[in-house]
Structures are given as C-alpha cells and as structure tokens.
C-alpha cells in the first residue's frame, strides 16, 4: 500500500538476534535514555514561582485603562460589546455629575462594565474597537477559580489602579516593578 505521508515507517519484522532475545540488553538501552535525561535541560518550570515569559502580543486578561490624571477612559460607547464575537461584554452607562470630573474623563461613563471571562475568547477585538484607548488585553490570564460565578469580572476587577492616588499599585499593574516585588517575597 502506498503511504500517505513521507513519515510512515514499515515495522521491522525480521527475527530477533541473540542479544535482543535475552531482553535485558534492551532494558538497559532504554534505561540509558532515561538516565541521560537527568543531565539534560529541564523542560518543566516551577510554575507559581517561575513563569514563562509572555510574548508582547499575548492577549490575556482585560484591563480598563485610566488616563494620566487617573480618570477612567471608558465612556460606555458599546463598541467593544458590539465587536465581541463571544458576546462576553455588557455595560450600563451613566452621566457624570458635577464634581465627578476627576473620576471620569467624559460626560458619560460606564457605571457597570462586565466581562464574562468564561465566554471571552481573548481575540482582542474589543481592544481594536475601542475608540478611547480604554480597554487593553494584558499579559496575564484569568486565574482559575472554584466557582463559575467568580468569572464575571466587574469594574472593580478590571480597572487599573489610579496612577495618582495609588502609584505603586499602578506601576505594579503595568508590570514596571513586578519583578522587584517577586524577588523580595
């Protein structure tokens, strides 16, 4: 029969030689390969302590961005939700009251903003659709959880820390001082 791929190998059905018949030799050959791996570079990493570097284009957990003054950029225009192929994003908008100018950049803002991380396919179309640079996909993924209910991420989970009032946390969220913290602990 003609093989479909180049990789097919026919099984060697020639009678075993004496050395192969005593069997211990083959066991020894196999163990040699096993022991040889002790001296090779480890393929595994110690996950929680060590992490693999993400590629810069990695699309992970969403972040709702703030501007330099710490105001929320999102105006609840709904373009991310309409672009979302998995229909994971919902929101409700509200009008900014006088006195809230330091909290919200625009007249209208998202009072509620939710992403269902179970539905999300991390395609990044919301990031592309956003006219206000408000939503970004970060280089982390959604942590595992025991209940499905905790995969609905609301605004408190998504918003980046305020760069004015919480500069340390903001830098940490940006990944600027993340490594320092890790090595300390």
């Amino acid at each position: 029969m003609q093989s479909l791929t180049q990789r097919a190998k026919s099984v060697d059905r020639s009678p075993l030689s004496w050395l192969e018949k005593i069997y211990v030799w083959n066991i020894f050959k196999g163990m040699l390969i096993t022991f040889g791996h002790i001296f090779k570079k480890k393929a595994t990493i110690q996950y929680p302590e060590q992490t693999r570097p993400f590629s810069p284009v990695f699309r992970g957990l969403h972040v709702l961005n703030r501007d330099e003054e710490g105001r929320e950029r999102c105006t609840a225009c709904g373009l991310c939700a309409v672009a979302c192929p998995a229909e994971a994003i919902t929101m409700e908008a509200a009008e900014r009251l006088p006195g809230e100018e330091k909290l919200y950049r625009e007249e209208k803002y998202a009072a509620r903003y939710e992403i269902n991380m179970l539905r999300c396919i991390f395609c990044g179309l919301c990031e592309e659709a956003c006219p206000k640079d408000a939503i970004y996909l970060s280089e982390t993924f959604a942590p595992a959880n025991f209940s499905r209910k905790s995969f609905i991420y609301g605004k408190p989970d998504l918003l980046i820390p305020d760069p004015v009032t919480k500069p340390e946390e903001f830098k940490e969220a940006k990944g600027l001082i993340e490594k320092k913290k890790k090595s300390k602990s």
């Binding site: 309409v82 929101m91 009008e95």
Partner: protein, 364 residues
C-alpha cells in the same frame, strides 16, 4: 373634459422615471429608490420649506430638458431643483458629484465634534452614515471647534449645540406642528445656534418631534440619555390609543423595559406620523402599548446587530436526559451580573442615570 396630466420624463443615473411636474429631482430619485437617491440632511418631505441648506443632495444635471438640452453649469441641490421634461441627472454615475459630496461632508464635520462614542444618536445618525460612506470619518481640521453656552430646553429635550449642522428641520417642526414656536436659530454665521432666546423650556405637545427630525445628535431624548446604545435596544412596532396623535410608534426595548419611544420612520429616515409628547416621554411602561411585531431593520444597519428576530432560547435539556429529575446544583452564573438587573428599571429613571442611581447596588 378631464385634462390628462402631462408627466415629465426624467433620467436619473440612466434610469428613466415619469413624474408629475413640480417634483424635485430628489423626490423623483426617491421614486426610483435605491442607490440613486441623493442623501438629504436638511430636506424633509413632511416639512414645508425644508431643504437647500446642507448641500449633500447635490447632483449633476447633464441635460436641462428636451427643449433646452444644455447641461447646468454647476451642481444643483436636488431637493430644491424641480425636474423638467427630458432632464438627465447624474448622481452616483458622476465623479464630480461624489467628489463634491465628500467635500460637503467634510465641511459639515468641521465643527461637528467627533464624539460619537458619547452621542446617543450614534448608530442611527445620518451624518455618521454619510461620513463613513464617503470615507470622511476622520478629520483634517486642526483648530478649535466652535463651542456654545449651554441651553437648557426643559426636562425632555437635550440640546447639544456643538453637534448641530443647522439644517433648520427642528425650526420647521416647531413652526408647522406647534402653534407657537419658541425656539429658532439665533445669530449668524459661525455664531448661529439653535436656542430659545430667553431661557425657556420647549413644552408644546408635539415639540418632541424635533428629536426625530434632527439628522444628528443635536437634539436627543433626555429620557433616553445614556440609557443604552441604539444597537443594543430592540425596536418593535407598537401602538396605543392616544387622543392627541396616531399612537403608532417604535419602542426601543431592552428586555421588557421600554427605554425609548420614537415615531415610526420610513426608508428615508423620515417620520411617518408625528407623535405627541405623552407617547414619547411618558409612556415608558410595556403595559401602555400593544406590540405589533419587530421592526424591519436594514441588514446593513448596526441596529440589526441585535439578533432578536427569530430568537430561539435553548431548551433546558437536563431534566429530559435525566428522566425528569431536576438538577440538584445549577451552575447558573446569571445571578452574579450587575448589568440589567430585573429589579432596576432604567426606563423608570426620568433622566440619564447617575452615580446616585448605581452605587447602592455596586457597593462602591
């Protein structure tokens, strides 16, 4: 002797149509329909005297008439130019028209703030459609746009003067539908603005129609302000018994909440029948209306993004598979969501929602 009316033969983009004398080129093109119809930002067939302001309906007249087949030297506004017998009009077949229209759109957008993410009209805005059709959604204008002192037009109508393109449609509505017009265009040139000269609320029974005729988001519904994006609400035909108007409306709903009520619009985006303020602003309860069915939304419109026609809810299969046993534990995640809570009726809030409406629930 019954005199037979002589019909004028007009050719628009190589399609010949016979229309009555006195028809404008735009209306003749609308009789053909489809792509050959020039867009109109200021002309409104139901408002007498409208048109001739925005210049988006410019067409090229290649031959004036059979009697005088010379072409017209300049592009003409089709809403204000009447047809002649044997007239040959070029709209989409003319390079000149497309170019001029793109220029007109760009000029309209010079002072128009590109704040579509905030604007409630986005998704059903004629200027937005027009600018995207002509690839002019960006702007080359680098200077400060004109701004205005804020005018309050009462509890129902929100005026954003910066978005206005001065089409005068709302002025005609107030002139022709109400007995006393209290708003108009003040000042001239760059300072021209829609306002009531003395701070005054628009409170006539039919004044709400200015919201429907506004081609941009300059006049919007305050009761719908920021409640939802147009394309996330589902439009349904509904009617009610109203002693002031026909009661035939479109309801824009989210679930069973009536977020917005507008008049029914035809394929040109024009109101079919004017509706009164009571229908538009007060009847925000589903019980007030008789629902007739979903609105036929153009497939290319962003409003059709809400796939609510022929929506099939999946059956709960668990008990079927398990011989009628109900699940002991449902992994239902819907109770967690803060959005669209059944106990919070956005439609019941008279104006836009504020942080005061929300923070009790989010616990921020």
């Amino acid at each position: 002797m019954a005199e037979e009316k002589k019909l004028f033969k007009v050719t628009i983009d190589n399609i010949t149509v016979e229309v009555e004398p006195g028809t404008s080129i735009l209306n003749a093109a609308r009789q053909i329909g489809g792509d050959v119809t020039p867009p109109a930002m200021c002309y409104y067939s139901k408002l007498k005297g409208s048109g001739g302001k925005c210049r988006t309906c410019l067409v090229e007249v290649a031959a004036g008439s059979t009697a005088d087949p010379r072409p017209m030297p300049k592009l003409v506004a089709s809403c204000r130019t009447n047809v002649m017998d044997g007239m040959i009009v070029k709209n989409i077949t003319s390079e000149k028209v497309q170019d001029a229209r793109a220029g007109v759109v760009e000029f309209l957008l010079i002072n128009h703030p590109l704040d579509c993410p905030i604007c409630d009209q986005a998704g059903e805005c004629h200027l937005q459609d027009l600018s995207y059709e002509h690839g002019k959604e960006g702007t080359r204008f680098e200077f400060a746009k004109r701004t205005f002192k804020k005018h309050d037009l009462g509890p129902y109508i929100q005026l954003h003067m910066t978005r206005c393109i001065l089409c005068y449609r709302c002025v005609f509505v107030a002139e022709q539908l109400t007995n006393k017009r209290v708003h108009g265009v003040l000042d001239r040139g760059d300072h021209a603005e829609i306002a009531t000269y003395i701070e005054k609320a628009l409170d006539n029974d039919f004044i709400g129609n200015v919201i429907d005729v506004c081609p941009v988001g300059a006049l919007t519904d305050k009761t719908f302000r920021f409640k939802n994006r147009v394309w996330f609400t589902k439009p349904v035909n509904a009617s009610c018994k109203c002693d002031k108007c026909s009661g035939k409306v479109h309801l824009w709903m989210r679930g069973d909440e009536v977020l917005r009520v507008t008049a029914r619009k035809d394929q040109w985006g024009e109101v079919e029948e004017w509706i009164c303020n009571t229908c538009r602003f007060e009847r925000k309860d589903i019980k007030d209306w008789t629902i007739e069915g979903p609105v036929n939304v153009n497939r290319h419109s962003v409003i059709s993004q809400g796939h609510y026609v022929g929506l099939k809810m999946p059956d709960e299969t668990f008990s079927k598979v398990m011989n009628g046993r109900q699940p002991k534990l449902l992994m239902d995640i819907h109770s967690v969501s803060e959005v669209n809570k059944p106990n919070v009726n956005l439609a019941a809030i008279p104006g836009p929602a504020h942080s005061t409406d929300f923070d009790t629930k989010t616990g921020k």
